[in-house]
Symmetry: D2
Subunit: 351 residues, 4 copies
Amino acid sequence: MCMVMSVAVAGASGYAGGELLRLLSTHPEFEVGAVTAHSSAGAPLGRHHPHLTPLADRIIEPTTADVLAGHDVVALALPHGASGEIAAQLPDGTLVLDCGADHRLTDPEAWQLFYGTEHSGSWPYGLPELIHADGSKQRDRLGGVTRVAVPGCNVTAVTLALAPGLAAGVIAPDDIVAVLANGPSGAGKSPKTHLLASEIMGAASPYGVGGVHRHIPEIEQNLSLAADAPVSLSFTPTLVPMSRGILATVTAKLAGGGITTGDVRSAWEKAYADEPFVHLLPDGQWPTTAGTLGANTAHIQVTVDERAGRVVAVAAIDNLAKGTAGAAVQCANLALGLPETLGLPTMGVAP
Amino acid sequence: MCMVMSVAVAGASGYAGGELLRLLSTHPEFEVGAVTAHSSAGAPLGRHHPHLTPLADRIIEPTTADVLAGHDVVALALPHGASGEIAAQLPDGTLVLDCGADHRLTDPEAWQLFYGTEHSGSWPYGLPELIHADGSKQRDRLGGVTRVAVPGCNVTAVTLALAPGLAAGVIAPDDIVAVLANGPSGAGKSPKTHLLASEIMGAASPYGVGGVHRHIPEIEQNLSLAADAPVSLSFTPTLVPMSRGILATVTAKLAGGGITTGDVRSAWEKAYADEPFVHLLPDGQWPTTAGTLGANTAHIQVTVDERAGRVVAVAAIDNLAKGTAGAAVQCANLALGLPETLGLPTMGVAP
Amino acid sequence: MCMVMSVAVAGASGYAGGELLRLLSTHPEFEVGAVTAHSSAGAPLGRHHPHLTPLADRIIEPTTADVLAGHDVVALALPHGASGEIAAQLPDGTLVLDCGADHRLTDPEAWQLFYGTEHSGSWPYGLPELIHADGSKQRDRLGGVTRVAVPGCNVTAVTLALAPGLAAGVIAPDDIVAVLANGPSGAGKSPKTHLLASEIMGAASPYGVGGVHRHIPEIEQNLSLAADAPVSLSFTPTLVPMSRGILATVTAKLAGGGITTGDVRSAWEKAYADEPFVHLLPDGQWPTTAGTLGANTAHIQVTVDERAGRVVAVAAIDNLAKGTAGAAVQCANLALGLPETLGLPTMGVAP
Amino acid sequence: MCMVMSVAVAGASGYAGGELLRLLSTHPEFEVGAVTAHSSAGAPLGRHHPHLTPLADRIIEPTTADVLAGHDVVALALPHGASGEIAAQLPDGTLVLDCGADHRLTDPEAWQLFYGTEHSGSWPYGLPELIHADGSKQRDRLGGVTRVAVPGCNVTAVTLALAPGLAAGVIAPDDIVAVLANGPSGAGKSPKTHLLASEIMGAASPYGVGGVHRHIPEIEQNLSLAADAPVSLSFTPTLVPMSRGILATVTAKLAGGGITTGDVRSAWEKAYADEPFVHLLPDGQWPTTAGTLGANTAHIQVTVDERAGRVVAVAAIDNLAKGTAGAAVQCANLALGLPETLGLPTMGVAP
């Protein structure tokens, strides 16, 4: 009996759209339906994504509610602010996966402060491994839902790195510092001078410094759920010369003097022992983004800096896979009652 | 009924070994058996290949015939010259895939000339898409074999780029020029100064220039089968700053004055129309190695330079995938009577 | 007595403009005058070229003949087709260095064929090391001139690689094949999708394949001067992931059976023995683009492939230095009667 | 009258040695004397540093006190722990520049703790721009000295980023967090698997995490001088895919509630207003390592994150230039009474 579900991808010519198509194409329960975009409509997909060889001849359709309707699942890989309107036109029963920011924040004021537009409302938040202060995981809130707000890629990396320590109470929530190394694919495919290869290769540079990056309220929202307390965060992403990947180095103060390295490690072990995609590496081995390229995995390591009184936790993910498209598919699996890991790669492509 | 076959991988800590494990792990008819190496024996696989997350705790065993015996398939990813001896100790009925050079050349003199050691003998050659002068393909010679010589990565790129024109008689075999851009993973994982990141990044440099590269006799062997005539080849590989990938730019003279661009294009179209992994791109679109990363695909384009009287054919492959490990799995499928495409990715990971 | 001359740079916000400013700033006989551009006019130079620290506060002026007039030297780093008009408005006595293509070709028909617009006329050609068939060098034609057509970067690499063999008659002019590895800075600073870092990193891809690249007639013009005969050229550039640099691999057939490796090497040695910027590397050492980064040098090596009957010559240059801005300064030195090497770096920045 | 001084470089085949030679060669008051190394002795320099074209034929001599003696200046670019012994054999009047760590720390216990060997003693510390709590600069302590401990590259970046705020009392010394993006050339030229191009390209990974990195006591030593108080530091370097460059992102808490962004900015402005090599960028422009490549410059920016209550300061340097060889030459200028900026590039090579 055929139960394969059709999935439409809006924003198919971009990087997140391409990664969605790559993962959906090999998923045993999904088939790729309409692929849509704005300015690329009418072109063959292969012109925009030569790596998607079997889909090269598919013609990109315009992104309209009409084209998207009639699919079992619709994945939106649109610029921030663009998904609210189109999502509102889709049937309630359709599973809609929003890879943009529009429905992630629960606090309309935080949205207004960082995005400056009207809030589109809040959807169930698609980070299954997010541990809450009560020990539950976010995945418990995703079964049967028809709307999913897929997390931001930087947010996923920082949250997965630090949440276990906050949930276990071994680190303090009030002075978190996160510095990230980011591949430029996270900045999208629109041609901009500062994203040119000549500018990026051989260069590292920060952006969105000083508490103004739009990912901050989303990270704080997540970490507050883990800590059951407000958190304070200094957050600095850095563009480095690799296409994909995020390495998040996150530090926080130990919650008190008596907390041992064993306590810290045990908090992370407990949080991720049964997770299929989030792996605490063996003691002494530190994550490299290359270990997660193309996979839906996160690699984590944590240690205590006794001299500085700080825990240092590091997470590596692929911003397009676990950071975006992989998370979307993982949430679709959960929402539809499929095995959570179905169709998702757990091995990266390296070197 | 369970028919899953066990596959041992010798040389598991290297780049080719890692790629074999990545592909074998998701192949529906194979399961990974022993993973072996020399100096890395005793270490967990995750120390050498952090990207192979689900296999991270597997312990590397020593490479001995005893450890390898008892598997249905043995894949050898050993340095050139090392596979002959170990292969001789494996049972005749075991399918042995040699990713090294030892059994590729049919001419012992050519081996002696380019490698300087005694020839280990010739095995069925594992490039299924190689077109012979009689129009047959190499895959016809691979059904049921128990030994496969997996082609060299540069060889695969140059052969796939040019063989159709030779088989169709539209290009001349006597003055072929190939220049390649190569990622350094093809040079292996042994630490050498000239392969350091600081040396490679920001640099392009040729190696093995002037007719001395060991891949030359193998390319000539293939192209002679296509042309049914001796071929002459100038071959220059170039190290460029990307981990994986080969871009082969190959030119040859038109076979005669009356040959049109249409004749040329039609030769390539005919050769690759039904190939699952080798794709002639749409007219005007040129291959990029990024389009094949991690996939068992080759992307090809060809044109005629009227002013120079030369055909220019370009092939892009991933040296570790279609260039090595993917080819090995593809040949294993053929040898074992499985569908040729089973378990092999046809989509690259990009950007 | 102070004789420092003022130099204006038009197109100062681009890559070639930036490199001109870098070299002019440390030249003992030049001082930077007006820096001009179109859309960037009004901005501080440091926004466009943060590496030019001492010039960071200079304000970019509009590119007009009025602004440029009154300088001793004017360097034009403008898009192809833009320099003809502005150059025509500059005084005859001003030394004008055109880094664009407009005045390079002597044959109006070749210009028309490859550029499709009206020819702006031909200026003295600025490749001092170009050897003519009569043994003279192009520098002999540059003393006292007031107009210089600075060569194309690809052209410089291919010409320097092969001209000695043609001038000495040891190679045949009728079947030259050149394949180049190119950093994307040669394609300029305008934001285009295919030049994004995410597209370029991890990728090699050819462009302008099949005899259509605009650098072809210029290379043929140079090599014909060396050979005193028409030449035939197959030319394929390839984008690879390094900001700067060109590695040109150029092959040509030996002119006859009796020519030895010694004859070949001696032709190159003779041509470049006294050149301050063009270095034939020691036997067995091959050029790497990293060895020329930021320098006005070209590194050359040549060998004979006996089996293929071809000479293989390889040249490495920095496309922005010896390929553009360095060549411009070198020619200015010659035109003004200064020492040819004045103010020009002969050491690269590596690793 | 000729006063050019001879400089010997020990460790000439490594990356720091090569950069010293590049800078010394164009310095108007220095000439390169002996170039020495251990395992490379006897080889021409051009085999190890093809970019140093004019020095390519110089033969590397063995590193012995005899060879080094008789020069006016000796620069030691040796592994940590190797310079103490050779330095002890050089005449007191010779200016010795130690680019290694041996003589940087004033506290023998800190040396013992982080290096585990006996302390070689402390030399005048070569970071001229280091601001002390009393407002003096470290350059005041370098005139006429004959021994200089050149700072570590990471140390220079972190110190320059943060010291002004500590000296001005606007930030608190007790909870500093530094995360760095580092090019692998800082890890040297010895071939190691984790430094291979295939491992580094496409990857970001931390190293020396958790308070164990040997640069920590040196940073603390510097920042304590600025703060006139003990400092506490969490320090995490990260390898990213660029040959050269350090981007240090350093945060510290505001010293108190009443401190404004203006107070902060003014502290940095005051510290660096007259510095020839350290540049506070215009408000809103953030450093990129590409802006300092090959130059003796540091680019700095600072802002206040009001929400997090932290100052974020970012410094970009070239680890081999301002981070090592440039600093050595700058200190030699100071020690010898030459103009501090003599022979030192203030423009980077970009893109």
